[in-house]
């Protein structure tokens, strides 16, 4: 007669994930169980022990600890633990102790592995728990990192020092000195109610007033910064940090219902968190030479690894790295303008691709271009802009931003054009789409003005947003191109490896993962007329329309985040090991947990590509394999 452990079986059958398990599977599990009694206070598993079992609490209570010794969770009858160690790296990740006298049923690793691989709902259960844990881990990390939980108001030490826009330069300088502030908020008092019109900072006084030897009688409204970047008083400090990084502003007025509550400066944030990426950015702007910039560029990777270790998400890491890249570019342009003199006509320096999308990582090419004022005359002015472009691009290369292999750089005269030429160029790409041409110009549809007259870049964004959504042919060609790079998933959810020379048997997480996702997100974003550049922000804009089926936006966001973060961790690991980071991941280096989720993420990409093909009806006669 088959030994029937009724008590064990009946108890398991009442608790997840065993409650909807097939009868014979459950019998199989029960027959392999080991039972152990732990007296209250005794240690069940210790950190670093080999993970040998999944633990099921039959009676009693168990406490789970963090590495730090801090209590993480308390479990009781019917709960399971130990699955993370089994799924991740085979050692105990969370030490456990019996809080009460406890009777535990232990399921051996081999049985767990088999269930995990063959029983869908069991896998879902143990993995969903794991996601919750990851989320807990992130929020714990975020709690530990005050930048992510403290609000900007924390940095405000006093109400803003304000003055009417009608005052003169000297008066402004006097107020700032007397008040001991580095910025002055200027109020337009001509209406019923004073409104914030601009800001002047000590840096502005130095760079605009002193260097140009402006008379002390100069009206402040002529030199103040307008079109202010501001932040809401409920925003978190890290949001202020990202805003400063993105816009290269060192002062942010904090508003509460349009009322200035105070001004926070780069220095305030750095004081708050000396290790932040802003510290590096602050340092970038203090460098006086390309050599100096090159010297501090090695800190970029430290900053990156640090953010990864703090469990920052890919959006934050991408934004911070792009902010740092942008700062190097901006500082180089400032140094270039010092070296070659002020520009003969206004210009705008554009970042393209990942930097424009705020999705830059540590292994990156430089992609940039220049928009010149329409008064630009090549024979008179191009000498200056070519020199400036060379200075910046060489400088970026010295700082670790490799030259673009496709020569999409401001040094290429093709990409150094007056605004009207750029407009014609974009109009032509959109109105008369050709697949080949678009393949190479994809990168121009992620653009951002980062220095000079950035309004010119905004004009291009507006033109693109207005035209693209109207041209089905254009979208169809983009869609066709986007389908060229498919996720590396074969039949039966197996990975398809790359067979390109030395990097055999790897998956390129950029070419086969994040790039196809950002491609298809870009197309939907263009179709809905969004001017956002960042993929997550584009997804948000797409989500506000009915362009995609319900749930697709969330799925794409999760897939992008997961693939991006695996790619980021892979690079951080390489840096920590002293290897050169790349995008090629060997599946055997991933945990079963990561492999499984990566497959899910690739499946999302694959489905999204199918929808893309259907939605934009790629205008081609041949099949699109």
């Amino acid at each position: 007669m088959q030994a029937e452990l009724i008590e064990i079986r009946n108890h398991l059958a009442q608790h997840s994930p065993f409650d909807d398990m097939a009868e014979d599977t459950l019998d199989q599990v029960v027959s392999q169980i080991e039972v152990a009694y732990y007296r209250a206070g005794s240690t069940i598993t210790e950190l670093g022990d080999l993970s040998t079992h999944l633990y099921y609490i039959r009676s009693g209570a168990v406490e789970i600890y963090r590495r730090s010794g801090e209590l993480y969770n308390r479990l009781s009858e019917g709960d399971i633990f130990g699955q993370f160690g089994l799924m991740m790296n085979k050692t105990v990740r969370f030490p456990t102790k019996a809080l009460e006298d406890s009777l535990l049923y232990l399921i051996p690793a081999a049985v767990f592995q088999q269930l995990w691989e063959t029983d869908e709902s069991f896998a879902d259960y143990v993995e969903i728990e794991d996601r919750t844990r990851l989320r807990t881990a992130v929020s714990r990390r975020e709690k530990g990192n005050e930048l992510m939980t403290a609000r900007v108001t924390r940095l405000i030490s006093r109400p803003p020092v304000t003055a009417p826009t009608t005052i003169r330069l000297q008066e402004a300088a006097r107020i700032m000195t007397e008040e001991g502030v580095s910025s002055l908020v200027l109020m337009d008092e001509s209406g019923d109610k004073p409104t914030m019109a601009g800001i002047i900072t000590d840096r502005d006084l130095r760079t605009r007033a002193l260097t140009e030897a402006l008379p002390s009688e100069t009206p402040i409204r002529d030199i103040m910064s307008t079109g202010l970047i501001t932040i809401h008083s409920r925003a978190f400090i890290f949001e202020a940090m990202l805003l400063m990084l993105h816009n290269n502003v060192h002062h942010l007025p904090v508003l509460d219902r349009d009322e200035p509550r105070g001004v926070i400066s780069l220095a305030d944030v750095i004081k708050y968190e000396t290790q932040s990426s802003l510290f590096l950015v602050g340092n970038i702007f203090h460098q006086q030479t390309v050599k100096g910039l090159k010297a501090i560029s090695k800190d970029v990777r430290h900053s990156f690894v640090r953010m990864v270790n703090e469990d920052a998400n890919s959006h934050m890491i991408g934004s911070a790295m792009a902010g740092i890249g942008r700062s190097f570019t901006q500082r180089l342009l400032e140094l270039g303008e010092e070296k070659f003199g002020p520009p003969p006509v206004p210009y705008c320096f554009m970042a393209l691709g990942s930097m424009a999308r705020d999705e830059q990582l540590v292994v990156t090419d430089q992609d940039n271009a220049m928009i010149l004022d329409d008064r630009f005359e090549p024979e008179l002015h191009d000498g200056y802009f070519l020199s400036l472009a060379r200075f910046v691009c060489d400088g970026l290369a010295a700082c670790g931003y490799r030259y673009c292999t496709g020569d999409i750089m401001a040094t290429n005269e093709k990409w150094r054009q007056p605004l009207r030429v750029w407009k014609d160029c974009f109009s032509d790409w959109i109105d008369n789409p050709k697949a080949e041409a678009l393949l190479n110009s994809n990168i121009f549809f992620d653009l951002d003005g980062i220095h000079g007259d950035t309004q010119m870049a905004e004009e291009l964004k507006a033109l693109i947003a207005g035209k693209a959504s109207q041209s089905q042919r254009f979208l169809a060609y983009l869609a066709r191109n986007a389908l060229n790079r498919t996720p590396p998933l074969g039949f039966f959810r197996t990975f398809v490896m790359e067979e390109d020379g030395k990097q055999n048997n790897t998956i390129n997480l950029k070419r086969r993962g994040t790039a196809p996702i950002s491609d298809l997100i870009r197309i939907h974003a263009l179709a809905c007329g969004s001017r956002a550049q960042n993929s997550f922000e584009r997804l948000q804009a797409i989500g506000e329309t009915r362009l995609l089926p319900e749930g697709s936006v969330e799925n794409l966001r999760d897939a992008l985040e997961f693939i991006a973060i695996v790619r980021i961790r892979h690079q951080a690991l390489a840096i920590e090991d002293g290897r050169e980071p790349d995008n090629n991941v060997r599946p055997e280096d991933l945990s079963p947990f990561e492999r499984n989720h990566l497959k899910d993420a690739f499946q999302v990409v694959s489905n999204a590509q199918k929808f893309l093909r259907y939605r934009y009806q790629a205008p081609v006669g041949r099949s699109l394999g």
């Binding site: 007669m1 452990l5 009724i6 392999q32 169980i33 080991e34 039972v35 007296r39 009777l103």
Partner: protein, 242 residues
């Protein structure tokens, strides 16, 4: 906490390994001989190193000379782990009639028993599962004597083996289980050393009683709990077995 007791039936001065060796020499039935030859650990072996087997019989009554075994459950274990993989459960056909009272206790009916084998058919498996391990029972007046009588009946030679009795351990821990009339007046209750009640003292879960395998499992868990609370992993076997 040293704890040493010998009941009259087991009284002999020779330690268990020597006694089993002696039995091995005397045994004629090859299954029995093999069982004895497997022997048992030395008396000073720390309990955590001892291979154990929890054993429980359901019987038609309490007197081995008048009643019979109806089912046998056993679970091999050690102080740290109970291995369900090797748990066994047999229903056997008693050579004496079932009485209705015992049916209501263990739930094994005439029809179950009609299809069941005689104890002798499973004897090789049973003895193999017990060999080399120290049996753990709750109330030693059942399993050892019932098996001894059953084997004498069939093989004309008996069996003996060391047991650890979880009930005897509880009895030892609670020497004054029955309060006197004064204590009863002041509300003291008697301490039950029955399996289910003993388990409760160690916060072990309630298991439905009178299924031989469940009771064996319950007994194994109880011994793990008893050792952790009142002894320790290094306690020598000699302090525990009877």
């Amino acid at each position: 906490m040293a704890h040493r007791k010998r009941s009259a039936t087991d009284a002999t001065d020779a330690p268990w390994p020597a006694r089993l060796a002696h039995c091995a020499a005397q045994a004629r039935d090859p299954r029995l001989k093999a069982y004895f030859e497997a022997g048992c650990p030395a008396p000073d072996t720390p309990i955590h190193e001892v291979p154990l087997v929890a054993l429980d019989f359901e019987t038609t009554g309490l007197d081995p000379d008048r009643h019979a075994i109806v089912s046998i459950g056993l679970v091999p274990f050690t102080l740290s782990r109970i291995q369900c993989r090797d748990a066994r459960h047999w229903v056997v056909r008693p050579q004496r009639p079932l009485n209705q009272d015992s049916v209501t206790i263990h739930g094994i009916t005439h029809s179950d028993i009609d299809e069941a084998p005689d104890l002798e058919e499973i004897l090789a498996d049973l003895l193999a599962a017990l060999a080399g391990r120290v049996a753990v029972v709750h109330y030693r007046a059942i399993e050892r004597p019932f098996l001894d009588v059953a084997l004498r009946w069939r093989l004309h030679e008996g069996i003996t083996f060391p047991v650890i009795d979880t009930m005897a351990i509880e009895a030892h821990l609670h020497p004054k289980r029955r309060p006197n009339w004064l204590q009863r007046l002041s509300g003291e209750r008697s301490v039950s050393i029955r399996l289910a009640d003993s388990r409760t003292r160690y916060h072990l879960p309630h298991y439905a009683p009178h299924h031989a395998l469940t009771d064996a499992l319950a007994t194994a868990e109880l011994l793990q709990a008893q050792i952790q609370h009142h002894f320790n992993a290094e306690t020598p076997l000699r302090d525990l077995w009877l």
